[in-house]
Structure formats: structure tokens, C-alpha cells
Symmetry: C2
């Protein structure tokens, strides 16, 4: 699957995946685009268009096979890889992410926590011991870490990214409000919690 | 400004705003779409297209007036309203949001924290006292809360949303992994941290 899919569609796929997983837990076998749309607040037209990007799914007038569609979307998103995360910077945000339940439901697992603060190193968060950041390379190898999650302050983030790349992680998820330089072979996604809040501000200003 | 702007463009506006604010701090007066693009990893064409949505900005071959463009985007996003937030559910995520520095940089301020757990009520987080959720209506009025931020577990989220609406908040930012029912007059934005992580998984799977 090397076809390019729009970022907006990629952003909706995890929502489809979670909704289908819940439908599967309800023992639903078939779901219509109308019902998916109702559960997600997305128009059925948008859903049919998104799913058509990946080829022929579902049958007209009947709906989508819940399990088949869920598996297909999970494969497109690469969730079958069961990526293993290390969080670097165990402050408020890092601690919250170490405890965030939604990751497990999508097949991600947090396997390592790192910090440079000796006062935190050795403590456990959600059952995982916080290790000294000086042990990055050893931890990434021994815990088979795929993804580095950066939750350190902005002025420390590039240094942490360099350490992660040198340690051989396959991707970086950055929460620090700074543009990081990483090799093009290491995918990087920047997260900014104020983007959603600004979108809310925009909608409130239209009222 | 009642014109509809695409969600993707709205999502980029806070990034433009922050980059322009940093440029302003560097005493930059004019910035080109090339330079904005370099700082944001967005193509100059996309930037010119996004900004053209709001009318005529900038001058060909010269660039955009940093301060003017920043103010204009801030106005479109409604940031001049200096929205006041109450966070409901002071667990790991709620505590992280109470300490999240990026909000202040965009003009949002956290003015109230609420929880139903008597063990947390009365404690201070980032200088703000956690109040009992039973005092919701009184707190929303006395602290002039505009936005309710929901960080309680999924099975408590609808109840909290109902309390927020009854207390008169103008918007809701929901982190609970559940679809909430609120009146159409109260804008709602759902946040799901695993969406960004899934996008990273997608890109890693293409490598």
C-alpha cells in the first residue's frame, strides 16, 4: 500500500477503527455508512468516499462487514505492528501519556520511561520504572522500542530527538512546541494540544 | 466572518499564529511564504492558498507583515476573547492540561479545576484549588468560565457535559473516548491523542 492518502482521511481512520471495534464488541456483524456516520458525526458520503480510497468494501444497500473493515483499516494504519513506545520526559504530560488507556486499545504499548531528573529515576509510573536518559541506547535495544515520545521542554527536545535517532527508533512523536530536525527515514509527527482548543475557539466565535 | 473555512485550514491556523508570534519576538517585521513554509514544513503554495481564504494579505515578492497577519489570524480564531477554561477530572491528563504552557501562549487561561474525588478536592494544581464538582454552577458563574474541558473517564463524561451545559459554558473540549450529546448551540471538539499516534504508525508502515 504505497498509495498516498490525504492527511484528513488518515486522521479519520483511527476513529473508524475504534468505532468498528466497539461495534464488534456489541456483536454487530454488518454496519451501514449511515450508522457509522451517526456514531461518528461524519456524513455517510464522506465515509463512503474515505473507504473507497482503499478499494472495494461493503455492499450497496447492506453495509460493511464490521470485522473485515476493522482489520483492513488496522492494517492500513499499521496497527498490527503493535508498536512499542518509550516516553522521554516524565513530567505531567509524560505521566499522563504513560497512563493513557486509549493507546492499548489501538495496539500500542508503553514499554519504557526515561528522564534525566535523578529524583524521578527509579520511581514507577503505571508499573513501569523510570530509567536515566543516559541509558537510552541500551533501553531502546533491550525493550525493542519502536517509537520515541518526546515530552521534555522545548529547549531539550532536539537533543532528545538526536539521542532517539542514534538509538535506532523507527518514529518520533513530539509534544514539544518546536520544529525538530530528524532524518527523513524517521517519520515524525508533531502534536500540539492547543490546535484542538483553537478550533473550538474558532467555532465559539462563529456562534 | 461567517464564511466557512475547511477544518484542515482551521487546524493550520494555530500553527501559523504561533510561528508568527515567535517571528514577532525575533523582531521580524516581514515574512515570506517561503520562510513561513520552511519553519512549518508546509509548502509555500499551501500557505498562500490558506491565507487567501481570508482575503488579501501580503505583497507579491515582499511577504506578509508579521504583526498584522498574526493579529488577523488571532481574530479569525477568536483568540482575542481570552477564553477561560475549567478542567473537570483532575487525574493524570487533567493535571497535565492544568500545567500545559502552550495554552497561555495562545491567550487561553485555566481558571478552575473540578473533581468529584474528596481526596483531591482542596488540593492545589499549578496554583489553582481543586473544587468539588457539586459546585459546578457556582464556579462557572463566579470564575466566568467559557470552556469546559472534560478529562473524566468515558462513563462519567456525558453527566459532566450535562452539568457544564446547565451551568452555561459556551463550549466543550472533550478528551473522553465517547460521543457526547450537547445542544447545537454549544460547540464541542473531541480530542483523541491516539489519532496522531496512528498517523505516525501509518507513516512508519510506509517506510
Amino acid at each position: 500500500m504505497k498509495k498516498t492518502i490525504s492527511q484528513a482521511t488518515i486522521d479519520r481512520l483511527p476513529l473508524y477503527f475504534r468505532t468498528l471495534r466497539l461495534a464488534e464488541e456489541e456483536s454487530l456483524q454488518i454496519i451501514s455508512s449511515d450508522e457509522l456516520g451517526r456514531r461518528l458525526d461524519i456524513t455517510p458520503e464522506q465515509i463512503r468516499k474515505d473507504l473507497a480510497t482503499f478499494g472495494q468494501f461493503g455492499r450497496k444497500g447492506i453495509g460493511y462487514d464490521v470485522r473485515e473493515l476493522k482489520e483492513r483499516i488496522g492494517n492500513i494504519l499499521g496497527l498490527h505492528n503493535h508498536w512499542r513506545l518509550a516516553i522521554i520526559g516524565i513530567g505531567h504530560l509524560g505521566g499522563a501519556l504513560a497512563n493513557y488507556v486509549n493507546f492499548a486499545s489501538l495496539g500500542f504499548s508503553v514499554v519504557a520511561l526515561l528522564d534525566r531528573d535523578k529524583k524521578i529515576v527509579g520511581h514507577k509510573v503505571n508499573g513501569i520504572e523510570v530509567c536515566d536518559i543516559a541509558r537510552m541506547k541500551e533501553i531502546v535495544a533491550s525493550k525493542a522500542v519502536d517509537i520515541g515520545v518526546i515530552t521534555v521542554p522545548a529547549d531539550e527536545a532536539q537533543g532528545v530527538a538526536d539521542l532517539l535517532v542514534a538509538a535506532g527508533v523507527k518514529g518520533i512523536w513530539n509534544f514539544a512546541p518546536i520544529k525538530l530536525s530528524v532524518p527523513s527515514t524517521v517519520p515524525l509527527v508533531n502534536e500540539d494540544l492547543s490546535v484542538g482548543l483553537s478550533a473550538l475557539s474558532y467555532h465559539m466565535s462563529q456562534e
